[in-house]
């Protein structure tokens, strides 16, 4: 289930394809391929506009592909594995990627504010999280973002 920036369920125009699916994507199509499959498709000139990477993938490797991408799905293997946060942050701040960055994996609603703060703008909800929790979390995150919490935040905002 795709959850948008506002924490609401949204229609998903993207198709997520596995590494071994025998499909041929079209160049710049709204398909998401895992990194290696994407690179293979790119060899054939058929790389889609979406890619799925892991938090531990080397950002330098992804950086070169950014001009061809509209969506990057970052996979969190565990809710407690925070590498995806740093990866998203680097994609936004170091390489100035302005397409979509989508989180996927066993994420927790209370992580939503952190995801948004690191540059994610949507997520794929794990099936066991009630959808309403994401909306609650998004409202809380928006409230918090609008009001600096600490003196440091206020003075450096």
């Amino acid at each position: 289930m795709l959850i948008d920036r506002n924490g609401l369920p949204a229609a998903d125009v993207w198709t997520y394809r596995g590494a071994h699916e025998p499909v041929t994507t079209q160049a710049r199509s709204k398909d998401v391929l895992p990194l290696d499959a994407w690179l293979a498709a790119n060899e054939q000139g058929t790389a889609p506009a979406g890619i799925r990477v892991q938090g531990h993938d080397d950002p330098e490797r992804i950086a070169a592909l950014l001009p061809q991408l509209e969506l990057i799905v970052i996979e969190f293997p565990k809710s407690r594995d925070g590498r995806g946060f740093t990866l998203a942050k680097l994609l936004r701040e170091k390489w100035h990627f302005d397409g979509g960055i989508r989180a996927s994996g066993p994420l927790l609603p209370d992580q939503l504010a952190m995801l948004w703060a690191c540059g994610f703008d949507s997520l794929l909800s794990p099936p066991d999280v009630p959808t309403a929790r994401w909306h609650e979390a998004a409202l809380a995150a928006a409230g918090r973002a609008a009001r600096p919490r600490t003196l440091l935040e206020r003075l450096t905002a």
Partner: protein, 668 residues
């Protein structure tokens, strides 16, 4: 021969230790528990799994047991302790019976109105709202856990982020005391929480925190809310995040201080709390900062260690160490930056954290700390990477401006010190006249930067006491004395003592008299009985051996006069390799291990946590629980026979070498 297995677990809502009885009901009295034989065990385990799935209990495990006339007897010492309570507090836990504790608790008055500013650092109103909000959020998370919406695994992330552990006898809440600074009103509220929600005491830790050992899960959100009323919290006291920033207990008071490190510790606290990028690191992350040439914060044994100093132009800057640590792989930190300008503090720390978060190992919990990353990638390469990341973000992130530093500094309540002469005749007369007072002054005070003032250390290590424990009545007395004698201020030391930082020399004797009445004037700071001890197997789920009674028995071995004669020596006792008591960096370190089901203790000599940072070396084979005090006495006897005039234990050891002490391990 074992009769079979108990099925042991903790009850979800209150953490209480429970066992399965014959009918597969959970009972909290071991006598009613059933020992399942091989045929019955599968069914019992299935019942336990079902109870876990039904959110009644957590972590059910089979524990071997024998049968006696009085009922089951667990084979493991750990399970025996779970069935009784701490061996060092027979008045607590199951062994104490139902009424003992409730009857023992006096009721501390609750604060009826939350004070506008409670701490020595004055929070923004929005910060307290945030803390209240977090407490409320945690209440919702607890409700979702109890209803089963959240599994234990998912909930654990939230539970740990709020400092709530599940320990040997139940839940434990670790309250952060940022850089060890407490106000009188905060101390009072801790006493209130200890009485209202716990068992009338708290345990001060080596990371300047406070642990409550008996809260229930259902009470915890309310405890957090009560703490928030006085600007205290338990955020990030657990989990793989940036933990409480620790510092010198005499910060802002010490005569030798160059820079007040609390200002930067507070900046780091604000920056790291709820940090979006660095809350799910490979492993926990500890930062310490000091601003004096004498390192009282053990900065070289932290993930990041910061030495604040000034240059020839009087500007503040920092020397930065990274990758120090204890635990399984004790290692002195690597110097990664000789001089970091004040303005770059957060940008540089961010660069270190980013490199660590991206590259730190996550495949093996024992290799996940930053110290292993630095070792594996080589310090030079690590430094190159953080400097590269630092120069990148230095282009886009704003520096920490003078104005911001000044604004945060202004939020610290500055005591209104009087202009006093350096010498106090009242003090000198008392010092001359009263030998007992003199002995306390000689060990328990520290020079203050303001003439006429002095810092007083309150020992939480009375003979036979539990290192770091303070009862609620002691907390209340100290709150009162802080108001009366120390501008409302208290400090927690990483040696598990407390400090009244700003006492007039004129009033020191009066203060001492009050402390003495309250049993808080043990004159042993820096002496052998001022031992650091982790909770050990008496409380901790990770421990392999007890540590508190080891420290107690050593302390009781020496009279005060003998301790004074031995002079300064540090003794730290850890109950497992995680080294919460920092045994590696003590002059005499003791590590408890499990040797074929028996407690066994390894002795290390020559560690040091200060500016001469060193990791102690193992002296030889481990010794039994019973023999530890004799071995320590042997070591100190050997020292007394070897020492030159005025030579401290650590210096004699350095001169003659550890070989000279090996014989001490023999006990007849």
């Amino acid at each position: 021969m074992n009769a079979g297995n108990l099925i042991s677990a903790n009850r979800l809502h209150d953490g209480l230790v429970v066992w399965l009885d014959k009918q597969h009901n959970w009972v909290d009295d071991l006598a009613q528990a059933h020992v399942f034989d091989a045929q019955e065990l599968d069914q019992a385990q299935a019942a336990a799994q079902a109870a876990q799935a039904a959110n009644l209990i957590v972590d059910p495990v089979p524990r071997p047991a024998q049968l006696s006339d009085a009922g089951p007897v667990p084979v493991d010492f750990r399970e025996q302790l779970r069935s009784r309570g701490p061996s060092v507090r027979e008045d607590l836990g199951k062994q104490a019976g139902q009424d003992a504790v409730q009857a023992a608790l006096a009721h501390a008055p609750a604060l009826t109105v939350a004070p506008e500013h409670a701490g020595i650092y004055r929070y923004d109103a929005s910060e307290r709202e945030f803390l209240k909000e977090r407490a409320k959020e945690f209440g919702q998370q607890v409700a979702r856990r109890l209803s089963g919406e959240l599994s234990e695994d998912a909930f654990k992330v939230y539970r740990l982020m709020n400092g709530l552990y599940l320990q040997l006898h139940g839940y434990m809440l670790r309250v952060a005391i940022p850089y060890g600074t407490l106000s009188a009103i905060q101390m009072r509220q801790l006493a209130y929480v200890a009485n209202r929600f716990d068992k009338g005491y708290g345990h001060f830790t080596t990371r300047q925190n406070l642990q409550f050992n008996w809260p229930t899960l259902t009470d915890s959100p309310e405890i957090l809310s009560k703490l928030a009323d006085v600007d205290l919290h338990a955020i990030q006291t657990s989990g793989n995040c940036i933990r409480n920033v620790t510092t010198d207990q005499f910060a802002g008071a010490a005569k030798d201080e160059v820079v007040d490190p609390r200002v930067y510790a507070e900046i780091l606290r604000q920056w790291s709390t709820d940090h979006p990028e660095f809350t799910y690191l490979p492993r926990k992350f500890k930062i310490a900062i000091t601003g004096a040439p004498t390192d009282r914060a053990a900065v070289r044994f932290h993930d990041i260690g910061i030495l604040a100093r000034t240059n020839e132009r009087g500007e503040v800057g920092f020397q930065i160490y990274a990758g120090g640590g204890l635990g399984r792989t004790p290692i002195v930190g690597t110097l990664v930056r000789e001089w970091l300008p004040e303005a770059d503090l957060l940008r540089f720390v961010e660069a270190i954290l980013r490199v660590y978060n991206a590259l730190g190992r996550r495949d093996n919990i024992y290799k996940a700390r930053i110290k292993i990353l630095i070792k594996e990638m080589q310090p030079a390469k690590f430094i190159e990477m953080i400097e590269e990341e630092f120069s990148r973000i230095a282009l886009t992130h704003r520096p920490l401006s003078d104005e911001v530093v000044a604004a945060i500094r202004d939020r610290f309540v500055v005591p209104e010190f009087e202009t006093l002469p350096e010498a106090s005749s009242e003090f000198s007369q008392a010092y001359e006249r009263d030998i007992e007072f003199r002995r306390w002054v000689d060990t328990c005070t520290h020079e203050h930067k303001v003439p006429g003032y002095i810092s007083a250390v309150v020992s939480l290590k009375p003979a036979g006491g539990i290192p770091g424990d303070a009862s609620s009545s002691e907390m209340l007395l100290l709150a009162e004395l802080a108001e009366r004698y120390s501008f409302n201020e208290l400090r927690v030391t990483h040696e598990q003592n407390l400090v009244l930082p700003h006492v007039k020399r004129d009033e020191l004797h009066a203060l001492w008299t009050r402390l003495k009445e309250g049993g808080l004037a043990t004159p042993n700071i820096g002496l052998i009985s001022d031992a650091i001890a982790c909770p050990g197997l008496d409380y901790c789920a990770l421990a392999n051996a007890r540590s508190v009674p080891v420290a107690q028995r050593i302390a009781l071995r020496f009279t005060e006069a003998q301790q004074r004669n031995i002079g300064p020596v540090t003794l730290n006792v850890s109950g497992c390799i995680n080294a919460c008591a920092h045994h590696h960096v003590a002059h005499i370190g003791i590590l408890g291990v499990d040797k074929a089901g028996k407690e066994n203790y390894q002795i290390t000599l020559g560690g040091s946590a200060d500016e001469n940072a060193a990791v102690g070396k193992i002296l030889g084979p481990g010794v039994t629980y019973e023999d530890v005090p004799q071995v320590i006495e042997n070591i100190l006897d050997r020292y007394l026979s070897l020492r030159n005039e005025g030579e401290r234990f650590i210096d004699t050891l350095g001169r003659v070498g550890a070989e000279e002490f090996k014989g001490a391990l023999h006990v007849d």
